[in-house]
Every structure is written in C-alpha cells, then in structure tokens.
Symmetry: C2
Subunit: 289 residues, 2 copies
C-alpha cells in the first residue's frame, strides 16, 4: 500500500540550503543533473523514469532550485519567473503520470510544487516589494521588510465514512462520467485533522461521524497539497448533499467497491486513478474487513 | 487524551462565507458576540472561558471576521490592519493558556491564526497589489490580477523515535532549563507525513527510523501550524545532533518519562505544557506499553 507521489530517491540535504559554498559546489559539479520538463509535463523515459540532462541545458535567465542528492549527484530544476505552472492536470499530464513510477513521480511532485509556488509568489504579501529566491530555492526573502517566505503546503483531509459495510463516495459535476471518489476538503486554521474530517463530511453530505482513524498520506502537486487519508464511522446513513460541492453522493457496499477496483466492466462506479490516495484508501478499506 | 487547542464549540458554517445576505444578517444580529482580546492575549473569565462582548464594542476601523455559531449566536473577532500579531508566546500568553479550557483555547487558536494571517497578507504575492478581505473573513481577493488567497496552515510533524523502551527527546538552546520535548519540523512540498518524520529525525539527531505510526493532531496558533504527532521505530540508538537545530538530544526510559509527566521533583527533564501535543504524545507512549 504505497501511496502515489511518495518514495523519491532524493536526499533533500537541508545543509545545502544553509551553506552558500556547498550550494555553489553542487552547481559547479560536472555530474549535476537538471530535470527535463516540457512545459509542466515530465518527460517519461525507460522503465517509467524521469529524464535528466546537464546544467548547461538550463536557460540563461533561469534560477537553479536544488532538489537533492541521489548517489552523491546533485539534482536541480530550473525556474524562469515568466513561466506559470497550471494548477490542474491536463489529459497529457494524466497520461504521463500513468506511465511514471511512484518514486519518480514523487521527485516530479516536489519540483512541480516548488516551481508553482515561486511562479505565484514573486512579491512580498507583507509589504508588496519584489522578493528574491534564497535557501537554494526553498524560500524567498524580502529586502524591503525583511520577511522570509517559505513554500506553502496546504493540508487536505480526504476520507471515507463507513456505515454497516458500506462507504460514502461522492462525485463532482466536472468529473469524468461514473467517477466516484472519497470526500475531501481543505483543513482550516484552528482545526485538528479529526475535526476537519467531521466538518467536511457533515458539510458536503449531512452525514455525522464519530471516531476517525488515520490511514495514510501523500503529497498532491496540484499545486501543493498534503493529502491526509482517514476513515470515519458514520452514525447514520441519511444523505443531504451540498449541491455547491457535490453532484451526487452514494453508499457503496464492500463487494461493489472491490469490483470497481478490480476493473469489472459493469461495476457501479469508476474509481480514482492509482496515483491518487483515494485509491489507496479504497484498497485499504476493502482489505481491512 | 484530548490534544490542546481542539474541541471548539463553534460551528464554522461555511455557508455564511458564500452568502452576503446571511453574513449581513449575522452582523446585524443583536445577540452577536465579539471576542475580547487585550492585544494578542485572550481575556480568561469564569471557569477558564473566553470573554465576549457585543459588536458595538468593535473599533470603527475594524473588519469583522466570522468565527462561527454557538447555540445560533454568531461569533466574530475584529481585525485592524495596523495591528500585528506576535508569532511567539509571551509569558503572559503562556499563563493565559494555562488557565483557558481546551475547547475555549481552540476558539482562540482559530481567531489568532486568522488575525495573524491577515496582518501578514495585506498584499497579493502574485502581483503586489493591495488585497481585500472576502468570504466573511476567510480569504483575501486581488482586484488587480484576480487571485484569491486563503489562510495558510503549515503542517508540522512532531514525533518520538522509540528504541528498546526508550524515547528520543531533544531540546533547543532557547528553551527553559531542563525542558525536553519531541522532535519537530515543517513538512515540505512533495513529502508524505511518514517521509517528513524520517527526514526530520535523521537531520536533527542522525537516528534512522523504520515504521511510523500516527497518534494525534492539533492546531498550533503560533502562527498557524497543524501539528501531526507520530511515533517512529528507531533502527539504532547512536545520536549525532545537528547543532543548528538542537542543543542536546537524549534517550529517556519509560519510567523516567512517567515520573517527569507526574511532576516528580527530581525527574530527569521538565515536560512540555499540557496544551502542547508533545505532552499528549508522551502520555500516549507511556500508557501504550
């Protein structure tokens, strides 16, 4: 049960961010690797691996962001301030993710989230001045007010409510036909994970839940969420959907979930893709009985 | 085992943020309540409760942020753009937190994190223009580039490594004498919780860990973290501290942790305060044997 976007082989080597000499040496290392991207798409090479090139291929106006070491070789991604990173997945990106190995997708996820954050954070939210990259690419600093800014990660709860052998799944109007998945929502300031789980299920479906148990987590790089996957015990099964959030919500028995995950042709719904933690969560729930 | 800063009685009522009429009605409700703060300090009333007043007490130049309903009464906190919220706890605040009930501290935590975010986010990080509050206080919008910004929550992993009946605790040079606590650090883009736990323990103490299990979570309003508490199984016990992060790290046997939590006078260390989830984590570990 390895969630998607986990298991990057890179060592982030925090020391490089705090020592200008080490960072310079990494950039000057002849073995240094630069991630090859086509716009926001990873290039997928042999055996589902990312493709890398030498630092000499970086555009002249790019800033090199340090991703980490693999077998002592420093790895980078190039950031150009005029390049924006789309927040959502295109069909071409979904296709690339289907072909990328999990650990390689994890490296791509870190790079993508970092690029997207720089693209959207050129100015100081505290004082409005232009900010500059520091910490080997893992922060921005403001010369005007002195504020330091660090890449944002937004915690999201994603969860199944269960009731007498069935789980609660929802779908949004924009999703592919027949796709159903776990409910999800952003955790807010002042909330614990378990509180956010209860609030989101209640808001979206009117279902009240009691105990909440944590299952797994994954980074989700569209643009930079931490997905926290849980299972909650529903106290009743009456659904009242919030039409602003969901198009529909349904209770699905374990056998039907198993059939959908196995790809049975006339299953009651189409499950989320393998790299989404909702899939990990459904696999876990089917197998824990 | 209820972590600090959880259990607020307020219903955040997301619908109020999306409907101007409902928000106006809430602000016009004669029973509406305004949180009383002295600077950044909560006023602590009878039985460790927060103190509230009527909306007429809000300064003329303040914006009302909607916190939620309690027994159908709308509750607000007032934000003034020239008022900054210190990121750290003063001795006076630590004293107030010792006297505040857990559920009341949770309401204060949400209000404090929201105020601190507005104070530091008056400008659009995307384009530098001044932004305006929307969504009943739970966001800011930019009229220049159209970007929407939402309050930030930073996930932090906080954890014990265990090895043959002992746990790994650390201390920072700035802490009170003899205080030791769980290790902790910010989760980064592209990391799962379990990966951040492994990286932080290794970075700070040189200790490698295998399986990681989730224990509990809490919001931490200095300024807006989500603390994710875990226990990890160490594969060895050789400590090599990172002197930039820690002053010292020690392995403590279960009996010594129990004595410290019980307040025994000559215990081997002073534990973190009751409202910190490191305390919840130590209580959990002592009792799970």
């Amino acid at each position: 049960m390895t969630p998607g976007f986990t298991g990057s082989p890179l060592d982030r080597a925090d020391r490089v961010r705090h020592d200008a000499d080490t960072f310079s040496a990494a950039k000057g290392d002849r073995r240094a690797q630069l991630l090859v991207l086509d716009g926001d798409l990873p290039r997928v090479g042999d055996e589902g691996r990312l493709v890398w090139t030498s630092l000499t291929e970086a555009p002249d106006d790019a800033v090199l962001l340090f991703l980490g070491y693999d077998e002592d070789k420093p790895h980078f991604v190039a950031f150009r301030s005029d390049e924006k990173m789309p927040a959502a997945r295109s069909p071409a990106l979904a296709d690339a993710l289907d072909r990328l190995r999990t650990g390689e997708a994890a490296t791509y996820a870190a790079a993508r989230s970092l690029l997207a954050w720089h693209a959207r954070n050129g100015f100081c939210a505290n004082c409005s001045a232009a900010t500059a990259i520091f910490r080997a690419g893992w922060g921005r600093t403001c010369a005007q007010c002195g504020a330091e800014h660090f890449p944002r990660v937004d915690p999201v709860v994603i969860m199944l409510a269960e009731h007498r052998g069935r789980v609660l799944l929802g779908r949004q109007a924009s999703w592919p036909a027949r796709r159903y998945s776990a409910l999800a929502g952003f955790l807010e300031p002042g909330e614990a994970i378990e509180e956010a789980v209860r609030r989101e299920i209640l808001e979206e479906t009117g279902v009240a839940v009691g105990p909440v148990r944590y299952v797994a987590s994954q980074p989700w790089p569209f643009p930079a969420q931490l997905m926290i996957a849980c299972i909650a015990e529903a106290t009743h099964d009456t659904i009242t959907i919030d039409p602003h959030e969901l198009e529909n919500a349904i209770w699905v028995p374990r056998g039907d979930v198993a059939a959908a995950l196995a790809g049975v042709e006339d299953s009651s719904f189409l499950p989320p893709p393998p790299y989404a933690i909702a899939r990990t969560l459904l696999d876990h729930w089917v197998n824990e009985a």
